[in-house]
């Protein structure tokens, strides 16, 4: 039997999941029914060197990270800083979004938050269902529409304060429906 397709699929599995498949998963990958057959296949692969066993007997790839990367050149004296130093950085996504599942975006339409630096056309990222505190910029539901304002508490009552003297504070008639808390403002030029 030609083991090449099996190796390809195991490698693909590793790339996608960042781990080796179990015997049962290998069975599914190559269309075997029994894990006994998989054990035999694995022995062939190990003998061929395309899969190796580590000291605990677990399977791994001989080059799990693909081909080895060159860290700078020896003559320069120092390895290129890139690889290791970048381990402690984060992407813009990670920086802007903490609870991914609860994050929605909203396009700013009015000028009521102008003095907070939030302009029409800006995109804000809001987190749904998170607890709003005094001073947060929130998105609330008023008369079947969205409004974005500072949340303020005065004399035990919550009100929505604009950041623009042309607008008046919103005092809720009965209950204030806060939908989300603003977490980031993004303006792309």
């Amino acid at each position: 039997m030609d083991p090449t397709p099996a190796i390809r699929r195991i490698r693909r599995f590793f790339q996608q999941r960042r781990r080796m498949p179990t015997y049962r998963e290998i069975a599914r990958l190559v269309g075997y029914r029994s894990t006994n057959a998989v054990a035999k296949l694995v022995n062939v692969l190990v003998a061929g060197g395309s899969v190796v066993r580590d000291t605990t007997g677990h399977l791994t790839l001989p080059d799990p990270f693909g081909t080895a990367r060159v860290l700078g050149t020896v003559e320069a004296g120092w390895p290129s800083p890139a690889e290791e130093e970048l381990a402690d950085t984060m992407s813009l996504d990670e920086w802007l979004i903490s609870n991914r599942e609860a994050t929605f975006m909203l396009k700013v339409r009015g000028e009521s938050m102008r003095d907070a630096g939030i302009m029409p056309g800006d995109m804000v990222l809001v987190e749904r269902g998170s607890q709003a505190r005094d001073g947060d910029i929130v998105v609330a539901e008023v008369d079947g529409a969205w409004t974005m304002k500072y949340l303020r508490h005065r004399d035990g009552k919550a009100l929505l304060m604009p950041a623009n003297p042309k607008f008046r504070p919103i005092v809720p008639r009965d209950q204030l429906n806060i939908t989300a808390v603003v977490k980031a403002v993004i303006r792309k030029y």
């Binding site: 269309g31 539901e141 008023v142 604009p162 042309k166 607008f167």
Partner: protein, 443 residues
């Protein structure tokens, strides 16, 4: 006898079935407060109701009801075009939120999943019903609409639980109380029992799920097939259906079927529709590393007649070229001039894994290898710039025409309400709050 429990322990296993309440319509209501409390229907572009809010259901609107009928019985209905992109984003969030509580989640449909929480009480310091209610609370708080949950010792019973009370219901069916939930439940309402089995059981005077569950094991194993033996076991509280917690890695068959309006008598247009279906099905074929060995081409007339031809390809292929060539021949046989056609479809009935990368001795694979490389690039372009950035010329007419004559102006709002940097082809993978901005406070 009738009041004796089917099972004595409460939750030998704890399986949840989590089901979105009017999922698509709820996605719409959650992003636009003007829609809350109103009868909302999605499916404008298709001319029938795809999903309706509870307010719309209360007015007698049912799934697949034509829009003209909806407008007659409910003139104030809000009818929206489907925004599958947003629904899919929220669907993925549903699964991700449930996975915070347990890794064993089966994505059963766009708006429903199973989750196994057996053995997690200590970790979450809560009983099974409390864990279920916390999941329900998280989903409603973060997604902005409600889900109904069934908690039971098996999948079949959990499914009964999630339907028991809707919307926003939480129904726990412990083993010793299974019989109370099955007593008045018509047997055809049990997941997996269809009209054939219902008719068969009727002949034996079995009408309720409890009557079915109380049948003796010997009778069930002698008179029904394995799927129904499993349902019988599950109704008795014995979990035999495992959760399929991994994303599908392969398919037995792949199909693409699409209707267009108005119907057409134009051969070039209809063939182009077929060509596009083949192309789209091939994209899926390549995504799962498969190759097509056998295909069925279908044409559907305005009278809902089907005509189809099955074709075996000389060489299994993951690219549309040879399949479209075969389709052209089949099309000549199927096509009846002057007939009104309304849909085309393709079913890849025989699929193989696409492993034959080594060129053969006679060099016949050179051409195939070349077209594979072309499609590798096409797939890369689509991934970078959006679906259908490049497509085969035979699909051109279909690619440049609206699928339905009502489609113009019926694009989902999210597709036109873009932020800077987004294009018609690609948007940010974050759902957008839409609707009116509250104004009128200008002093």
């Amino acid at each position: 006898m009738c009041h004796s429990p089917l099972l004595l322990s409460s939750f030998p296993r704890a399986v949840l079935h989590i089901d979105g309440d009017a999922f698509f319509a709820s996605c719409e209501q959650a992003r636009d407060p003007a829609l809350k409390g109103r009868p909302v229907i999605t499916g404008l572009e298709r001319g029938i109701a795809a999903s309706m809010s509870y307010e719309a259901k209360a007015r007698g609107i049912t799934r697949a009801m034509p829009l003209w009928q909806i407008r007659r019985i409910c003139p104030d209905a809000v009818i929206l075009p489907s925004d599958y992109e947003t629904y899919s984003l929220l669907s993925k969030r549903l699964f991700d939120i449930v996975r915070r509580w347990t890794p064993d989640v089966e994505e059963y449909g766009v708006d429903e999943c199973f989750a196994d929480i057996t053995g997690l009480r200590r970790m979450h310091r809560a009983s099974y019903p409390v864990i279920a209610s916390r999941i329900q609370r998280d989903l409603a708080a973060e997604l902005g609409f409600t889900f109904s949950i069934g908690l039971a010792p098996t999948k079949v019973l959990a499914k009964i639980g999630s339907k028991w009370k809707k919307p926003n219901g939480l129904t726990a069916i412990p083993g010793r109380r299974i019989h109370e939930y099955l007593a008045n439940l018509p047997v055809e309402n049990v997941w997996g029992i269809g009209p054939q089995t219902t008719a068969f059981l009727m002949k034996h005077r079995i009408r309720t799920a409890l009557e079915f569950a109380r049948l003796p094991l010997e009778w069930v194993f002698a008179n029904t097939t394995k799927p129904f033996q499993e349902i019988w076991q599950e109704l008795n509280g014995l979990s035999v259906l495992q959760l399929v917690t991994e994303a599908k890695t392969t398919y037995a068959s792949i199909q693409k079927f699409k209707t267009f309006t108005p119907p057409s008598t134009d051969a070039a247009f209809v063939f182009s529709q077929l060509s596009r279906n083949i192309e789209n099905a091939c994209i899926k074929v390549r995504r799962y590393d498969l190759a097509v060995r056998e295909a069925v081409f279908l044409l559907r007339t305005q009278q809902f007649d089907h005509a189809g031809i099955e074709v075996e390809l000389s060489d299994a292929t993951p690219v549309p070229g040879p399949i479209i060539a075969a389709a052209r021949e089949a099309f000549r046989t199927l096509w009846k001039p002057g007939t009104q056609y309304r849909a085309t479809g393709v079913v890849f009935t025989k699929l193989e894994s696409d492993d034959r990368r080594q060129p053969d001795l006679f060099g016949a694979h050179v051409g195939i290898e070349r077209s594979r490389r072309v499609y590798q690039s096409a797939d890369a372009l689509d991934a970078k710039y959006g679906k259908h950035t490049v497509y085969v010329a035979t699909s051109h007419i279909a690619q440049t025409h609206a699928q339905h004559d009502s489609e113009r102006g019926h694009l989902a709002a999210r597709k036109t309400d873009l932020v800077r940097g987004e294009t018609g082809r690609q948007r940010l993978a974050i759902p957008m709050l839409m609707g009116r901005e509250f104004t009128d406070q200008a002093a």
